[in-house]
């Protein structure tokens, strides 16, 4: 029975020849570009054998199953087979399909099928579409064979059997497949042996056999193989679902402990991820990096078991170390305590992460520790949340480097998994009257550099919290999202009226002393008359207050204050007065300088009823 295929329906099969080798070479541009002889080995010592090789390696005398030591004598590059990279290459192959059409079938690890319906209007003839596939595959560092046919199986076999681009017109399937060996149809071992005994070696010979007799001898498999050989086997496309996270993995032969070589590897992975994102016309909303740690981490784990505090990487490492200990779960002394500590801190981390997502906490870098099982405990994760979707691999690498410099992995890294959360690319419509604003990608890099300089908690955009507690605010991630309509409207108004909108009346600003300055206040008839702080003696000229404020009485950190606005006249200072001056304030403004510049001033002073002391909150400037 002939296939029932609609006219003009076409499918493209994309096949990556020598998939295992290409998966490894994809991450090694130098080997790939110079077409060096490469052989892949696999197995456990001492039985490590060659499992794949490229053409140059075959020519150099490499054979399948050859021992690694023998292969080394052939003068070829030896690499270990990497299933992680094969997985990533397969994902890249699928992305290639989705970059052109939403209807993609995941046929095999090295082969996909793409429905070409509707692509003619974009790319023209089938041959052009196939060329476009090959071009995009090259951008993903894959060399592919592309075959186009109205029959799915014919396209697959043609892609596996013919190099380059093959377009098979409808009705000529059998003719094109005739020269292909029977092995291309992937028969079972028994069927292949029988066919070889019969002398059937090509699809043409198989297709010429009578169906009934073939069925009697080989059963249904024989009938199916013959249909395949004649290009008459029909079936529907089985659609694949796009992955939500694009991931690339790399296993390292030796543990990497320094940032420079690590950045080199991360750069490669980012290049691959960004190429895949570009293939699907997407950008990354977040980059997730997971490091599998090697021996150095074991040492740190050992130090923890020996009750040696881990202080090298600060609080975060303590958390990490606690995670390791709790994850061991061997019932050793102190394990339960570590578990409890981990649980408590993990809750804190989880809360912080949740808050961050809802933009209510500081922009401290996301940090997570896997503590569910022993294997997972040896991983170290970093999440780079991006304010706007990006896919510039160099920019992303700089941001990752800054994060890793601030909080490096605790040990040697043996495996890296880098994933990207896909998002729609940023689209902005610039206008003539829209004010200039920092480029979001450049701004993110600048902010990351500043965060490295001053600390994550010391940079951001302040936001007032919903409380009456004086001086409360939180730092948010700075991202000046512009209301373009508003901006355009405002700027337009400026343009028309030849001048900026009337400025609001200015208000007096206040400078806050952080931390608060301890003061000694002399009261007269219940109000401040003299004040001593920062080694200065001042006479209160005018006072306004007390303004009694309190709150959070149901919490442990309840506050109750009496606030005064004071106009103070300093008389040159009284060095005999003992005042608690914060150490860092000496560095910022030594007392001599303070005296020279503070002859009089307006200050906000308060009495803290909780600790029964006076403090200077700030200065009106």
């Amino acid at each position: 029975m002939g296939p029932c295929i609609r006219k003009n329906m076409a499918f493209a099969a994309i096949h990556v020849a020598n998939f295992m080798v290409q998966a490894v070479l994809r991450a090694e541009g130098e080997l790939r570009d110079r077409e060096k002889a490469v052989a892949l080995v696999d197995g456990t010592a001492p039985l490590i054998n060659v499992v794949a090789a490229n053409d140059a390696a075959w020519r150099a005398g490499i054979q399948l199953g050859m021992a690694q030591t023998q292969a080394q004598l052939c003068g070829v590059e030896i690499r270990r087979r990497s299933r992680a990279q094969e997985k990533a290459a397969h994902a890249a192959l699928l992305d290639l399909g989705w970059s052109m059409s939403p209807r993609v079938e995941d046929h095999a690890q090295d082969t996909i099928l793409v429905d070409l319906a509707g692509l003619n209007s974009l790319f023209g003839a089938e041959e052009n579409i196939a060329r476009e596939f090959a071009r995009r595959a090259a951008e993903l560092r894959l060399r592919v064979h592309v075959a186009v046919s109205a029959n799915l199986e014919v396209a697959v076999h043609a892609a596996r059997g013919f190099a380059g681009i093959t377009v098979i017109p409808e009705g000529e399937e059998a003719q094109h497949l005739s020269g292909l060996p029977v092995q291309t149809l992937a028969p079972s071992a028994e069927a292949l042996e029988t066919l070889e005994r019969w002398g059937i070696r090509t699809c043409a010979a198989l297709g010429a056999l009578p169906v009934l007799e073939l069925s009697e001898r080989l059963g249904q498999e024989g009938v199916r193989l013959q249909e395949l050989a004649r290009g008459a086997h029909a079936r529907s496309l089985v659609l694949a679902e796009p992955a939500e996270i694009l991931e690339e993995e790399m296993e390292l032969d030796d543990a990497v402990e320094e940032l420079e070589p690590l950045a080199f590897v991360l750069g490669r992975l980012l290049d691959q991820v960004c190429a895949r994102l570009a293939a699907r016309a997407l950008s990354a909303a977040a980059i997730r990096v997971r490091f599998d740690l090697g021996d150095a981490f074991e040492k740190e784990e050992q130090s923890l078991n020996d009750n040696v505090p881990v202080k090298r990487f600060g609080e975060k490492n303590e958390l990490r170390a606690a995670g390791v200990k709790a994850a061991d779960g061997n019932g050793q002394s102190g394990t339960s305590a570590a578990k409890a500590e981990l649980k408590m801190r993990a809750n804190v981390v989880a809360k912080a992460t949740t808050h961050k997502n809802s933009r209510v906490t500081t922009q401290a870098q996301d940090f997570s520790v896997s503590a569910n099982c022993k294997d997972a405990a040896k991983t170290y994760e970093k999440v780079l949340n991006l304010p706007v979707p990006m896919r510039d691999s160099k920019m992303l690498l700089k941001l990752l480097r800054l994060q890793l410099q601030a909080d490096p992995p605790p040990g040697g890294i043996v495996k890296i998994t880098l994933g990207a959360d896909p998002a729609r690319p940023r689209s902005t419509q610039h206008g003539l009257f829209v004010p200039n604003s920092p480029d979001p990608e450049k701004l993110e890099l600048t902010v990351a550099r500043l965060a490295k300089l001053v600390g994550n908690a010391n940079i951001g955009s302040p936001e007032l919290t919903d409380t009456h507690r004086p001086g409360e605010f939180r730092m948010n991630r700075f991202f000046p999202q512009m209301n373009e309509t508003k901006a355009r409207g405002k700027a337009g108004k400026k343009f028309v009226s030849r001048g900026e909108p009337a400025a609001r009346r200015p208000a007096t600003g206040c400078r806050i002393f952080r931390p608060r300055l301890a003061a000694r206040v002399e009261l007269r008839e219940g109000h401040p008359a003299k004040i001593f702080f920062r080694g200065l003696y001042g006479r209160v000229v005018t006072a306004s207050g007390p303004w009694r404020i309190s709150g959070d009485w149901w919490r442990e950190d309840a506050w109750q204050q009496e606030e005064w606005d004071l106009e103070i006249q300093f008389d040159g200072g009284n060095t005999s007065v003992s005042v608690n001056v914060p150490a860092h304030m000496h560095a910022i403004a030594p007392v001599q300088d303070v005296k020279a510049h503070m002859r009089a001033g307006l200050y906000c002073v308060y009495y803290d009823a909780a600790c029964r002391s006076w403090f200077v909150r700030g200065m009106y400037d």
Partner: protein, 270 residues
């Protein structure tokens, strides 16, 4: 002699090739674009804050530097411009900033702990670009420390901000940038303004301190340096025609009494 001079000139040009386009050509001074500082009196006095230039605001404590800065930030953020504050002494108060009208989500606040951090952060932000106003607050840093900042730092800032739409504002206790600043504004503290409840026979706060309210304070401003072209701005012409005390080639000195902080302090209790 002329041949030597020509050879020397070509040698210098060759050495600077790729870095300086025409080292011996006169560079026309571009017209300064100014924007409002948010305080009409200051605009009248100075002509506004110049874009692409360094503005130095200096004066003792309580002289109104912070109030002026908040007004400028308020004016810029109201125009949807992104602003940055490099806080050398970590003294910025978001509450009074919001009360002054600063749109906080448009403000990048960098809390530094010393002069080195402040200067480095300024470098990074200037290189990043795209900000409408970058304020460097060194008010709480001891003047003797700021005095030790090499002059080339100020030159570098001036060069970095040139030909950009960014306003670079420097807040200090003393003038340090000198000729690198296109506009120097010195502020002096004036009298504080108090209002009191009209209670008969009570003239002193000590009898009724809760009846007194701090309304604000006045200040005095003086332009110590201005490189803006004379008469190029409406504000400038008005201000200087009336008050100019000394003027020489592009450098103006003038002073004006300001009462620009006469509104109530935006404390939460008001």
């Amino acid at each position: 002699m002329a041949a030597n001079f020509a050879a020397l000139r070509s040698k210098v040009e060759l050495a600077l090739a790729g870095r300086v386009v025409a080292p011996f050509n006169y560079r026309d001074r571009q017209e300064v674009v100014t924007v409002s500082s948010g305080i009409p009196e200051i605009d009248l006095l100075t002509g506004g804050l110049p874009r692409g230039a360094l503005t130095e605001i200096f004066g003792p404590s309580c002289s109104g530097r912070t109030s002026l800065l908040l007004s400028a930030l308020s004016a810029r953020t109201a125009q949807e411009e992104a602003c940055a504050l490099i806080d050398g002494g970590d003294a910025f108060d978001p509450h009074s900033a919001e009360a002054a009208g600063v749109e906080l989500r448009k403000l990048l606040w960098v809390r530094c702990r010393n002069v080195e951090q402040t200067l480095r952060a300024t470098d990074l932000l200037l290189q990043g670009g795209g900000f409408g106003l970058i304020a460097v607050d060194l008010s709480d840093i001891a003047p003797r420390l700021v005095r030790h900042v090499p002059l080339d730092s100020w030159f570098r800032f001036r060069r970095a901000v040139e030909d950009t739409p960014t306003i670079l504002v420097l807040l200090e206790q003393e003038s340090n940038a000198k000729s690198c600043a296109s506009l120097g504004l010195r502020l002096e503290a004036g009298a504080a303004g108090w209002s009191r409840m009209p209670v008969e026979g009570v003239a002193d706060y000590s009898r009724l301190p809760w009846g007194w309210l701090l309304e604000g304070r006045s200040a005095r401003g003086e332009v110590s340096r201005s490189r803006m072209q004379r008469g190029s701005e409406v504000f400038l012409r008005g201000g200087f025609a009336a008050e100019s005390r000394a003027a020489s080639e592009g450098i103006f000195k003038t002073r004006m009494d300001l009462d620009f902080f006469s509104l109530p302090i935006p404390a939460k209790r008001k």
